[in-house]
């Protein structure tokens, strides 16, 4: 009888617990009172900015801009995320890829969320393109930034091909179908076509910076001769807003979005133990891009918004 009583008592405790859990949930009530936990999302932009899904392996995908865009969409769809800190550590990359991410950042801001940039070692060229479309830019005085400009790389390997005995013939549908082909000298007409493209992309870049930084386009053109600036120089020129670390940027984002108290941080694209263990590259390096280009995996005409050396 004693045993049964103990077990019945235990059953009653469990039953009361289940009922209590159903009708009384202080955590949920706290959350409801505060209107839910307010979060700041951190999205990392690291390495060369290049379109696509990046490289994948069995432990996950590494960063191409598709991954960054996916993270921006997640932040937009999460009602608890009030602001996003874009942590940029990138020398730039492809102009279209930078533009695509920049457009998505603008959409995120249009949805009512604050986007603040925190620059790491380097946020130049395409990296600066992204920063320019955010609400506020934080950088360290020694951060490398600027390099506003575009170039399209071209290599002429004609002599090398002759030396090693490679003669390539092409049957073309049009005169310029093999423009930028490395097997032959570029013609003057082709040079003018490419220069026209570069100028157009440069104008687009200047317009983005002028609009994002509320600067006169003529002044942007003065600064945008492709040179790199230190964070300190960039602040004097109005290319960044404040000196500060990523945590200063988080505080700034909290302030701009009206978050009271300490915000919850939500990191997107965190390094997993697997990628740490197996060294899965979470960024695209210029060496990898070079080899992809040699293997004809990249469009050879990808215009680059990045310094040639960094």
């Amino acid at each position: 009888m004693f045993k049964r009583s103990v077990v019945l008592l235990l059953a009653i405790v469990v039953l009361i617990s289940l009922v209590a859990a159903a009708f009384w949930n202080p955590a949920a009530k706290r959350q409801a009172r505060s209107g839910g936990v307010e979060k700041i999302a951190i999205i990392y932009v690291e390495g060369v900015i290049m379109g696509g899904r990046g490289t994948g392996d069995i432990f996950g995908e590494s960063s191409g801009t598709d991954g960054i865009i996916k993270q921006l969409h997640k932040a937009r769809d999460d009602a608890a995320v009030k602001a996003v800190v874009l942590r940029i550590n990138s020398p730039g990359g492809s102009a279209p890829a930078s533009q695509e991410v920049g457009t998505e950042i603008k959409k995120l801001r249009a949805s009512g969320k604050i986007v603040v940039t925190s620059m790491g070692d380097v946020a130049a060229s395409g990296g600066y393109w992204l920063a320019a479309v955010t609400d506020k830019i934080y950088a360290n005085p020694a951060t490398m930034t600027g390099s506003i400009g575009v170039y399209i790389p071209y290599a002429n390997w004609e002599e090398l091909y002759k030396k090693i005995g490679i003669y390539q013939e092409k049957i073309k549908s049009g005169a310029h179908k093999d423009i930028l082909s490395p097997e032959r000298q570029m013609t003057q007409e082709e040079r003018a076509i490419i220069q026209g493209m570069v100028d157009d992309l440069y104008n687009q870049f200047v317009a983005v910076v002028a609009e994002g930084r509320h600067m006169d386009p003529a002044k942007v053109r003065q600064l945008a001769d492709g040179r790199i600036y230190t964070g300190s120089q960039a602040k004097e020129l109005g290319l960044i807003d404040e000196f500060g670390t990523m945590y200063d940027a988080i505080d700034g984002a909290a302030q701009l979005s009206g978050i009271k108290g300490k915000p919850e941080i939500k990191e997107y694209g965190r390094t997993t133990p697997w990628s740490m263990l197996f060294g899965a590259g979470d960024e695209v390096s210029l060496e990898k891009l070079f080899f992809r280009q040699v293997r004809h995996e990249l469009p050879i005409t990808a215009p680059l918004a990045m310094p040639e050396q960094w």
């Binding site: 049964r4 235990l10 405790v13 202080p26």
Partner: protein, 195 residues
Amino acid sequence: MTAMGRFLENVYDVLFQPGAAMRLIAGQRLCGQALAAFLLSTLIPAVAGYYPAQAAGIGKFYPVILLLQLFGGLFFWFVSSAVLHLIAEFYGGRGSAAGLFAATGFAQLPRILIAPLVVLAMLLPAGAMPLFLGLGILGIMVWVLVLEVSAVKGAHELSGAKAILVVLTPLLTLLAAFVALVTLIGTAFLPAWPG
């Protein structure tokens, strides 16, 4: 004594006098009662976990999680008791597979205490809740492990040390396999050491 009365007494004995209880359950192969105990041990924590999951915003996935827990748990119980039976025989055990199956089903009973544990955790400040829940669940898991050792000991009439080895052998084997796999894949993927 009614069937319900016998079941309640078995529940008490398993929780507070597991040695004798496991011998009796395994000897009589009380598989029906074991199934009832197992279902209670799986469903009560699952229902209690629904409310925190709802608060965390994953409530809509909960029916799927619940079904996976239920059917996955039943499958795991069946397979793990079979594996333990085989290992126990290697160590000289003389019990029956059905007896061990019944005893290991009863061994899951402490998991029903997760329900009051969740409610107690709700009373605590938000900062202390994860630690309290973590320690509480760890305590319950250790209790379950101790009962599984009792189940093997009672069902197969093994010494305490051998029963511990039977329960730990699959865990250690899995751990060793994992370490070997990680080492193997790591060796294959890691870049060569710069000379």
